[in-house]
Symmetry: C2
Subunit: 324 residues, 2 copies
């Protein structure tokens, strides 16, 4: 009998890089992690990563074989296999990641950004299994997005399509919120773990409403704290979720006008706040939709578990590629 086929799903983060062996059904057979920042050069990192993957595979090596390596990375370019100017990784410039990885293996290697990997993961393992047109939005420190149209991930002419987080909430000059990308008023400065924190700080500055959030510094405040405060009825926290949901819903109406998806899935920390974010987001999406779209688009929580979403998403890149 042949060995069971698995893919290696790899999620490269600023602090840790995690990987796991994923079968076609989405079971993770083994996992591992290495410190991304431990490696001085991309070459060393790739060698260290590959070595660790092979070592982690040892216990099961008699039973499984790796048929490909799917990689999710910030600023990962699916067309070129590069990681380009990643703000949160220890290396600079354009890193030919797939080329470096190719020195170690002749199996399939596919690299894209985290949100695109999550979108493919949703299609292979999650709530989009029967869908051809949908969007996945990851709400973490920033806001990432992956678009699937006619069953295919949209990469665009240069491999960087789907940057919903860096679309603007209003015309030039209308927002003072500086974004890490150098622009002002990007959606992710409002709708993300950092965005809701900025909104809380703004509301604390503007209003005189008492709030337990007044005792947190900007550095100490976290979206989880805001979430908990909202659950205990803190008025500022509740208003911040409403405002965040409004900004999200308002731009989701744009998303629908562009691509007319069947569903939009939210993944990540803010999505865990459930109705606190989903209710205002859905309300404002519907209010801003053109009539022809009203009531047609599902807004749902991702069905990938937040804990494993990145590894599942990365692994799904290979399964999806094999099947298309």
């Amino acid at each position: 009998m042949g060995k069971k086929q698995v893919v290696a799903g790899i999620d490269i983060g600023g602090t840790n890089t995690i990987f796991g062996f994923v079968d076609r059904e989405g079971n993770i057979l083994a996992e591992g992690r290495i410190k991304t920042s431990h490696f001085g050069t991309p070459e060393d990192f790739v060698s260290g990563l590959y070595r660790n993957i092979i070592t982690s595979l040892k216990p099961v090596t008699a039973d499984v074989e790796i048929i490909g390596f799917g990689i999710g990375a910030p600023m990962g370019n699916i067309n070129k296999g590069t990681i380009e100017h990643p703000a949160n990784l220890p290396w600079k410039g354009i890193i030919p990641f797939v080329d470096l990885f190719r020195k170690h293996t002749d199996r399939r290697i596919i690299l894209t950004n985290d949100a695109n990997a999550a979108a493919v993961g949703e299609m292979v393992y999650g709530g989009a299994r029967c869908m051809k047109n949908f969007v996945v939005i990851t709400l973490g420190t920033g806001l990432g997005s992956g678009f699937v149209i006619d069953g295919r991930l949209v990469s665009g002419s240069d491999g960087f399509a789907g940057e919903l987080g860096h679309t603007a909430v209003g015309p030039p000059g209308s927002s003072n919120r500086e974004c890490g990308c150098g622009k002002k008023g990007c959606l992710e400065t409002y709708v993300s773990a950092t965005g809701i924190k900025r909104t809380v700080m703004q509301m604390l500055a503007d209003s005189i409403i008492p709030s337990e959030l007044r005792k947190y510094s900007f550095d100490k405040l976290q979206s989880k704290i805001i979430h908990d405060a909202a659950r205990s009825g803190d008025e500022i926290a509740l208003k911040a979720f409403d405002y965040t949901g409004m900004m999200l819903g308002f731009k989701l109406a744009d998303v629908v006008a562009y691509t007319s998806p069947e569903a939009i899935f939210l993944l990540g920390g803010l999505a865990l706040a459930k109705e606190l974010i989903f209710v205002p987001a859905k309300d404002h999406m519907e209010q801003n939709l053109l009539n022809i779209y009203k009531g047609k688009v599902k807004l749902r929580e991702s069905e990938l578990s937040s804990r494993n979403a990145a590894v599942l998403g990365a692994g799904s890149l290979i399964w999806s590629d094999i099947e298309n």
Copy 2:
């Protein structure tokens, strides 16, 4: 020797419906038109249209054969072959246009909206011949858009993708401009022949700058008049083009972030103003682009002649379908 193959390209408008026989190279061999409003029911209209097409074909019928019918229509749904709640056509509700047309012919029939037809036309006959990822924006009474990704027209889950004209220029409450769709602040209320007229009226109200445009009523003012005034140095007209270009460029940065196109083509009346609209649009697009996209996206005039664009675009639907 066989007959030359042509397709019938049909453009349905509120007043007139025009059609032409288009060969693979984009030559229009014969043309015709009927009054759309002359027909009381969609059934009568389709019968009249088909009869007229066959009559117009008579002079060349010995030499050519029609291999398909491509149709551009407001609110045309490519997935279902329907025209749904068209505001500018004499009929109401959901019209099963392709089904009605099917009673007259067993050849290919494809229907979509005007902007989508223009996008396919640009790919088959125009400036996007070698492109896989691009956007066409039609600037007429309203603003239409067609998106091509990976060489395929984006229709979305319900056949109505690509409604850039009805995305919002700012968050809820930030714009008072009412749109025909029932929303406020839609892009087409700023960027279209009607939009620039509204901007002129707003500027005339706000400023005390002398302008020859002060002598026109809202009803009499046309984008061509504003264009001519700008050419003669009228300050309000120039400012109106700058503002229109700014609003367009600002939203084009969003378009790029969604789909990362190689080029964006502008078609229609406002595009004829050339640098008056292209310069501010390009400036503000670049200013609002994420760094990874800067300097990469071409903003160009459509290479379909404005006069024939609608018929060419409609005809191209069939050629494109045959070749894919």
